[in-house]
């Protein structure tokens, strides 16, 4: 779990810096990290706020980017079915890429559901480090008068590009990424940058779907994205599962 927590700290600090650079107050940055608690969409929203996007476009893209959590929740549902409903409702809020991967590895290793293990992974391994790091990044950013001198303004687009590449684990994903970029740029130049981002995000996946899927072993219980398999492997390597 240590590796995941360190990763959350590093990325959380960058988010705190990015949010500060986008004009967020400390309260607003913390609200994002506690209420949304989904890194990619938080970075996207910070950049979109800074670029003057309307809230509607930001919320739409947030819904699209975070829709992948349906996959995670569906995969964990058989394990968590034994937990009380109110607890499952609370567990849902702290379900992220990392907590999903850590928990799934843990449950599979034990062969039974471990509610306490889920909370330790989700809260101790991700939620607390992410939120503390957000505060540290935002407050620490005050000591940096001009982030552009240090090249920190490139963090947001670089993080978006890196995350996109990290998600592109198969031919379909690569085609969706390339199409998203091409459509996004074309529409941004022809119409408006904000419309371009939405068009790329909505239409890019359709190009990916046109690519025939390669055959392979049937994953279970749902088809997990590559980065989650990678996280699960890291979690396993870390010895996260108690």
């Amino acid at each position: 779990m240590g590796g995941i927590a360190v990763s959350a700290v590093g990325f959380g600090i960058v988010f705190g810096l990015t949010a500060r650079g986008a004009g967020f107050s400390l309260v607003e940055a913390v609200a994002f990290s506690t209420l949304v608690f989904a890194g990619a969409s938080q970075f996207a929203a910070a950049g979109m706020v800074a670029s003057g996007f309307g809230w509607g476009a930001i919320v739409l893209l947030t819904g699209l980017v975070n829709a992948r959590h349906l996959l995670y929740a569906a995969a964990l549902a058989p394990w968590l079915r034994v937990r009380p409903r109110p607890e499952r409702a609370a567990m849902a809020h702290v379900l992220t890429d990392e907590s999903f991967a850590l928990s799934l590895v843990h449950f599979r290793r034990l062969g039974v559901t471990d509610g306490r293990g889920y909370w330790i992974a989700a809260i101790g391994g991700v939620f607390i480090p992410w939120n503390v790091a957000t505060i540290v990044g935002h407050v620490g950013g005050q000591a940096i008068p001009d982030p552009t001198v240090l090249g920190l303004d490139v963090v947001f687009p670089a993080a978006m590009a890196g995350l996109a590449v990290g998600l592109a684990t198969g031919r379909r994903e690569v085609v969706a990424l390339a199409a998203g970029v091409a459509i996004g740029l074309a529409v941004a130049l022809a119409v408006d940058p904000r419309v371009g981002v939405v068009a790329g995000g909505v239409l890019g996946p359709l190009a990916g779907l046109a690519v025939p899927r390669r055959g392979g072993p049937a994953p279970e219980p749902v088809d997990l994205p590559g980065e989650v398999r990678s996280l699960a492997q890291r979690a396993s390597d870390d010895g996260i599962a108690p």
Binding site: G10, F32, G200
Partner: protein, 109 residues
């Protein structure tokens, strides 16, 4: 201290939480239709790629949007290449930041 964006955070929570909770709370929920799942898993790379490209390559000038290829684009590309090669986002970000800072210190960017 501004709190205006807390409202945006609440709205973002409102569209994120159902995706996390519905499969856990609705016993009848098994899985979405395969075409919907296939589409959703492609949204991430497409939208994040579009955001990165538009952010670094399009200058929203008053006279209209124009394509700009500067050192920042090279830095972002370097980050993407490192992630593809090493699967290490932190390293990619560090390289992108250092590259941009060095060019600016040299008066190039």
């Amino acid at each position: 201290m501004s709190v205006e964006l807390v409202g945006l955070a609440v709205l973002m929570f409102a569209v994120t939480y159902p995706a996390r909770a519905i499969p856990l709370l609705a016993p009848q929920f098994e899985r979405l239709p395969p075409p919907v799942l296939a589409y959703l898993r492609l949204v991430g790379p497409a939208v994040l790629g579009a955001i990165a490209a538009v952010e670094v390559l399009v200058d929203d000038a008053a006279t209209g949007s124009v394509l700009v290829v500067g050192p920042e684009a090279v830095a972002v590309l370097a980050c993407a290449a490192i992630v593809a090669w090493r699967r290490n986002l932190a390293l990619g970000l560090l390289v992108a930041i250092a590259f941009t800072a060095l060019l600016r210190a040299a008066g190039i960017a």
